[in-house]
């Protein structure tokens, strides 16, 4: 696939470059991301992200929290993958304390992960359509996302910031309706996903807007540290669920979705196909949720042994890592979150150079940023 070469045609024409301030209040940045654009007419010459508008100092803040409290803060990072973020912290703590959780906990976590992933991708799909002007996708996606939200709400009591994981298990046992609801959800989702394709994917305008736009080569993806669907759209195998399986991912069969296009369409297809894979995982697990405790016995006040602990998980946006340095007290000495959004933003600068303003919006959409995840 050739990179976008439209810029070459106007190279001979000289015009005055100007600054365009995109954000922090701009509908396409989906939050308070600010991009300083150097523009030449409609063409984006350079992108300079200006971060910090939603910086809350979470990494510093958690140094004063006990380990149980850290989990609730991670909800506010990538709020669309809150369950997966929680899980990363819980897994890191369990790893440090060498606690082996029961199979039931593992399966519950995995199922919740996949539900979260589908919910996140659904929201992305709806917003993606809106970004390129197809407004109806948003409502379709939210209709189906609502089913997941209801499943979540029944079990965890929350719809977005779930804080369902705790060190050594999950907060509550599954709701009695959980299996029934998930079983109703899977066929529904399998029915509506082709509908989505008919509405948006097959549309000629959509195809023209996506194909060959925002090219990111595999080398660039790796060197900028991109992960998740962004890197997989460029053909980089980087799924943590495959590379370093956690929870119950080692016992389910699923494919790592790889597209080699490297353009908007490839990233789009990765996410669409990932939803099918998530459904496959759910289908394998929903009938075999093992019996067992949903919480392992743990001390109320957790103290980690001295040392450094790292745990990475695959969120809907890519690799999320938690790095904890402990000096043996009840608070961590230092915590670092490796968020997928920040690295992907780096790759955006590479992919978004030399495209039209409208394309930049589309590229940002396929990169799927959640700004609190970038800023922390």
């Amino acid at each position: 696939m050739e990179p976008n070469t439209q810029i070459l045609s106007t190279e001979d024409l000289r015009s005055q470059e100007y600054f365009l301030n995109m954000g922090p209040q701009h509908p396409a940045t989906h939050g308070v991301l600010r991009l300083l654009l150097t523009m030449d007419g409609e063409i984006v010459k350079n992108i300079e992200p200006d971060l910090g508008y939603i910086h809350r100092g979470i990494e510093k803040m958690v140094e004063y929290d006990t380990y149980r409290q850290i989990i609730h803060v991670t909800d506010r990072l990538d709020y669309l993958s809150s369950h997966i973020n929680n899980e990363a912290v819980a897994l890191a703590i369990e790893k440090a304390l060498e606690v082996e959780v029961s199979d039931r906990i593992k399966v519950i976590r995995t199922m919740m992960d996949e539900l979260t992933r589908i919910a996140s991708h659904l929201l992305w799909w709806g917003v993606m359509g809106m970004d390129i002007g197809a407004l109806t996708t948003f409502m379709y996606a939210f209709r189906d996302r609502e089913m997941i939200n209801e499943i979540m709400e029944k079990t965890t009591g929350a719809r977005l910031t779930m804080s369902y994981n705790i060190p050594g298990g999950v907060m509550f046992d599954l709701h009695p309706d959980f299996v029934k609801d998930v079983k109703a959800f899977i066929p529904h989702m399998r029915k509506v996903l082709p509908e989505y394709d008919r509405l948006l994917t097959g549309n000629i305008i959509f195809q023209r807007r996506m194909k060959g736009v925002g090219y990111l080569s595999a080398e660039d993806a790796v060197s900028h540290g991109a992960s998740g669907p962004v890197a997989r759209g460029s053909g980089v195998r980087c799924d943590i669920r495959k590379k370093a399986p956690y929870s119950a991912y080692d016992r389910v069969k699923f494919d790592e979705i790889i597209e080699t296009g490297g353009d908007n369409l490839a990233r789009y297809q990765v996410r669409m196909r990932e939803m099918y894979e998530s459904l496959n995982i759910l289908e394998q697990l929903v009938d075999n949720i093992p019996e067992g405790p949903y919480q392992m016995p743990m001390r109320t006040l957790i103290k980690l042994p001295k040392g450094e602990f790292y745990q990475r998980v695959e969120t809907a946006r890519g690799e999320f890592g938690v790095f904890i340095v402990s000096d043996g007290k009840k608070n961590p000495y230092r915590v670092k979150f490796r968020s997928p959004g920040l690295s992907n933003l780096n790759a955006l600068i590479q992919a978004g150079r030399g495209v039209k303003l409208a394309d930049l919006v589309a590229i940002m959409s396929t990169f799927d940023f959640v700004i609190p995840d970038i800023d922390r």
Partner: protein, 355 residues
Amino acid sequence: MMNMLSINIFQNWLEQTHGIWYVLVLAGIAAIYLGFFAVAGLMLVYLERRVAGYFQLRLGPNRVGPWGLLQTIADALKLVSKEIFIPKMADKLLYKAGYYIVIIAALLALAVIPFARQIQALDFNVGLFFISAVSSVGVLGILIGAWGSRNKYSLIGAMRSGLQMISYELSAGFAIIAVVLMAGTLKMTGIVEAQKHTWFLFQGHLPAIIAFMIFLISGTAETNRVPFDLVEGESELGAGFHTEYSGMGFAFFFLAEFINMFIISALGATLFLGGWLAPFGITDGLPAQWLWGMIWFLLKVFVLIFLLMWFRWTFPRIRIDQLLTLEWKYLLPVGLVNTVIMAWIVWKDWLIHLG
């Protein structure tokens, strides 16, 4: 009312001494028109929102008044009460001129639209030409207003608007020429009367259908609606050319957009779908012909408006270079060839005349 409306304003203005009654009558017609189109514009906004609700699995406005009919009127009242904010660095004259030009251009074009036999403010021999002339003035308002508001997003919107309008005027013109060839006149009533037996859509074999499709596409582009809403492009440019407008300034732009949609649909109905004429003459013998004419006309307009709304709530937005490619590489050549074929058909007298 019929006689009042059918006064040929231009002629009489020159011929008569301007007595007080004459001025009053004119003012009355203008008031009726303005009132009608303010309400029609608001109802179109309501309709758009209901249609959007229908497409998007939701209800749309349904709380203010019966079936939410008064919702847009409440919105308009809210907009009237809002402060008209003018940015500090804006060019005040151009900023204000922008929306007046847009709304005046939209309302002027309405003058020649025939609602039914004799229900038309102005019926003169170059009515169709008048419409295409006046509707291209609207873009000036957009350009001026966007330039005057000193906002880069507005300016990008205005640049796009200029490109888009100038391009799509051409292919819309060729589509219209195809009809003019069939009708042999530019007079709006003459065009409708020429479709007495068969609509132009079916009279001219395939070229008429192609002309209709080109007209629909370029009409959508001229009214700045999805998939051609790059001028507004809310996810790219905030609100495009009217980013800096508030209160009634915004409302004028908004209303003009919907009136333009009405004009394009009315033009489509008049040129291709037989205007006020009943299909197969099914209501021809009935009394109150002017009322039936209006009903048929508005029904046809509604069908086209619904089509435009269907586009809006289904299609993604097209990019600016694709927009120009579509026009200059596809629509314009096709339109040109189509016009030549149409001329051949008319010359050979191969038009289909049923009945």
